[in-house]
Amino acid sequence: MFGSLTRIIGPDMLAYILRRLIAAIPVLIGLSIIVFLIMALIPGDPATAILGAFATPENVARINQQLGLDKPLWDQYFIWVTNMLQGDFGRSYILNRPVLDEILERFSATLILAGTSLVVCSILGLLAGIVSAVRQFTWVDRVVTFFVLIGISMPSFFLGLLMIIVFAVQWRLLPPSGMFAVYGGGDLPDLIRHLILPAATLSVVATGVIARLTRAAMLEVLRQDYVRTARAKGLDERTVIYKHAFKAALVSVVPVIGIQAGFVLGGAVYIETVFQWPGIGAMLVKAISTRDILLVQGGVLVVAAAYVFFNLIADVAQALLDPRLKT
């Protein structure tokens, strides 16, 4: 095990990470083109769409000039990207502040929520999957399968409401909404108290998906010849399952955890609305209602980029586990 430590930071791994980073660039460019095109499809005059119906002619002229809206589409895209790379995501005329400031503030709240959920669902999902594979066809397996089924069929926005009704209203155990208490809050325990319900709700679906997949992967791996070899060596069943089988199963589960990052980031839209968590999801819903186009554009792009990044981490983690993937 320690022998492989030197390989982790070895030059081939660094080269692999570099290759993945380079491969992410066209994806990011593609994302930006799609986001740009979607927004360019907005019917009517874009300047009016950005500024609202009561825009002054001077402001319309300024926006047209700033975003190059009088120029061809390709130039507009180029101007937009150049501005963004310089940290200028435009200005939200409804919030009256730079889009980037708003996004960064909101995004940190989303990362806390989504990150916590991702950690929770990975741990719980893997544990539940292993236990139900190892104790296949026992009551433990049935209970896990039952909860997985409920978890992936339950609308998260409904589950969130139930959580609030039960834990916040009936039992008064935890606060129903927000990120910090209005009076006297602001410290870490306060944040954690506010985080429990939304993070638990957000991780339910992903936990179910990961548990289901882990169970299937474990059962598949336990049939492999190399597991028979491990048994033929005289290893005890625990080592066979938790070292040999689990490591191999993890290779196929890790990319799915990366995909779950997308579902958690997307699902945050509902959860942040239900629990009034001041994240980027709730911001997007509000921005769509108020037709704050630049805010939607920036928000979608930042979250999508974060998802690309999460997947990149999953790829690297997978390559760390499986030396065959490095080359």
Partner: protein, 601 residues
């Protein structure tokens, strides 16, 4: 392995009346429940106009928040005095309609993209799939939000958004199948007969991908209903007075603290719909494509199930290192256990080499694996017989004790070292692990011993190679690692299960020579399983010929080679070509096969 294949073969022949997909679906209790529930929901939603329920939009401020079970309002009323039951039924209708429409739109466009992309291949395929990948690079809901942001809130726009977001799933699945079909003979034939591309796609390929389209639809429609409800919940879908389940839930949210039931009813309904569709969808997938069935495999136990009906007490005295008496191993089939090894007896003395020879399916590998309970179980069961190692009855020992023999006194070498070595651990670690199971040494010492073993099996650059992974070695090198692992704890007996079959001829010869040298150096008893009489002649003192799970002939190798008694043995011997024999070899084999065919008929 080979035994399991034989059993499967038998099953295929016996199960002539295979159940239809529909029977399979209904045999699956959960899927059947899902089917009936979703049918009931759909029927109620369809006949909503005929039901004796109040107008769902009729407000009555005097009747606000009537409780559950009120006169004329079975489920009570909401904040505007509207009947919750009526709204629930009408809302269900809208949600189902929107979800199913979204699913059909996504299936149509997704399948079209998948079919064209998979059929055209080349640059078209590449371009289309890059586009699909881009769509998939977005977190699912986010793309739907962006589309709604452009089109503006509204139920139809939410429907479009959810459809677009689901197109990639269909496109990818359908493309995968289409690529496999696009170059099959029947498609080539259609092309040669002058059919246009469009008509080939529609008449030749589409019918074959239909099951995949149905599976993808059945597994995504629940999701689509859920997500459109979600957009409505956020206020981006159905706009008042129109109401689907999502917007009902969204509206009721404001009164959640005082009147939770108004919110619970539509939420529960979405849950019931999605859950029953998911149950049904899983059932459809399992029925149409059993290979996709998740977790259908059962977990093999640490030691093969041992349920002996007969336990021979007599056992040959003497210094047999390994003695097997009347060993019987079966596989659970649909009609009770099917025997794969039927009462096999043999013994192996210290320092001796016994060849167990037979064609695939003869039960020789199952015999070898049964000795220490390594047959995958389920479906394997040891149903009878006795295995003695140094005079101790193995099959009556507790599992932990059987395990302690593995890799200690008795070690295995398996057939294909690419699949039998763990792909994620370095070979040095794997051998060191085998050492540490049986010997109280540190990791460092074990690692040093592993390198020693690699030297003993003549692996080139042993120090450096120790940190290599199996995929970085050649086939012959991997088998050397397999042998090193078997030697790790100075075993008395090595059971080699076709150790050279996966290797090419020159490497095979080297490995055989290595085994021979090691055997002489270390006084090992070797049980050598093979289908090749040439190999037996080269290294085995004794040979036992297996067929259909029984030993048909046994004796000293030279004796059997010189004067084979059984027809089957003669055939196996005839399969080994001799230098200078030329075409006569084939003639000889053909004559034997002909005789076999006549005898069998």
């Amino acid at each position: 392995m080979s035994g399991a294949a034989a059993v499967k073969h038998v099953e295929v022949i016996e199960e002539k009346s295979r159940p239809t997909a529909w029977q399979l679906l209904m045999n699956n209790t959960l899927a059947a429940i899902g089917f009936y529930v979703i049918c009931a929901v759909v029927v109620i939603a369809v006949i909503a106009p005929l039901l004796p329920i109040p107008n769902p939009d009729a407000t009555s401020l005097a009747e606000r928040f009537l409780p559950f079970g009120s006169e004329g309002h079975l489920l009570g009323t909401d904040h505007l005095g509207r009947d919750v039951l009526a709204r629930l039924i009408w809302g269900t209708q809208i949600s189902l309609l929107v979800g199913v429409s979204a699913s059909i739109i996504a299936a149509f466009f997704g399948s079209a993209i998948g079919l064209v992309s998979g059929y055209a291949g080349g640059r078209t395929d590449n371009l289309m799939m890059r586009g699909i990948d881009m769509l998939m690079a977005f977190p699912y809901i986010l793309l739907a939000l962006a589309i709604v942001a452009v089109l503006g809130p509204g139920l139809m726009n939410a429907l479009y958004a959810i459809s677009v977001v689901n197109i990639p799933f269909f496109a990818r699945n359908i493309r995968g199948i289409t690529i496999g079909l696009a170059h099959r003979e029947f498609v080539d034939a259609a092309r040669l007969s002058g059919k246009s591309h469009l008509s080939i796609i529609l008449t030749e390929i589409l019918p074959n991908v239909m099951p995949v389209i149905v599976i993808t639809m059945s597994t995504t429609v629940g999701w689509m209903i859920l997500e459109t409800a979600g957009l409505s919940f956020l206020g981006l879908g159905a706009q008042p007075p129109q109401a689907d389940l999502g917007s009902m839930l969204g509206e009721a949210r404001t009164q959640m603290f005082t009147h939770p039931f108004v919110a619970v009813a539509p939420g529960l309904m979405v849950f019931i719909i999605v859950m029953s569709i998911n149950l049904l969808g899983d059932g459809v997938r399992d029925a149409l494509d059993p290979r996709l069935r998740a977790g259908a495999l059962s977990r093999p136990r640490a030691v093969t199930r041992i349920e002996r009906r007969n336990t021979p007490t007599s056992q040959p005295a003497g210094e047999a290192a390994l003695s097997v008496v009347e060993l019987e191993t079966s596989f659970e089939g649909t009609k009770g256990p099917e025997p794969a090894v039927k009462g096999v007896s043999f013994s192996l003395n210290k320092g001796e080499c016994l060849g167990l020879i037979g064609e695939s399916g003869s039960g020789k590998s199952v015999t070898a694996l049964s000795l220490l309970g390594l047959v995958a179980s389920p479906p394997g069961i040891v149903t009878g017989g006795r295995v003695d190692i140094d005079g101790d009855d193995i099959l009556s020992m507790p599992e932990t004790q059987i395990t302690s023999y593995r890799g200690g006194k008795v070690a295995y070498v398996f057939q294909d070292p690419l699949t039998t070595l763990h792909p994620l651990f370095s070979i040095g670690d794997q051998v060191a692990e085998a050492i540490r199971v049986h010997q109280p040494v540190s990791q460092k010492e074990a690692r040093a011993k592993a390198v020693e073993l690699f030297k003993a099996v003549r692996l080139p650059d042993p120090e450096e190679r120790a940190s290599a992974f199996p995929h970085e070695l050649s086939g012959g090198q991997r088998q050397r690692v397999g042998i090193a692992m078997a030697l790790a704890n100075d075993p008395e007996i090595i059971i080699a299960d076709e150790p050279t079959t996966a290797l090419d001829v020159t490497v095979q010869a080297e490995i055989l020579r290595l085994l021979q040298v090691l055997r002489e150096e270390r006084g090992l008893a070797l049980l050598f399983i093979t289908h090749d009489f040439g190999v037996v002649a080269q290294i085995c003192d004794k040979v036992a010929v297996m067929r259909y799970g029984e030993i048909v002939e046994a004796g000293a190798t030279e004796e059997v080679l010189r004067n084979p008694q059984h027809d089957y043995t003669k055939r196996l011997i005839a399969c080994v070509p001799k230098p200078g024999q030329g075409r006569a070899f084939l003639e000889g084999v053909r004559a034997l096969l002909d005789r076999e065919a006549r005898g069998g008929a």
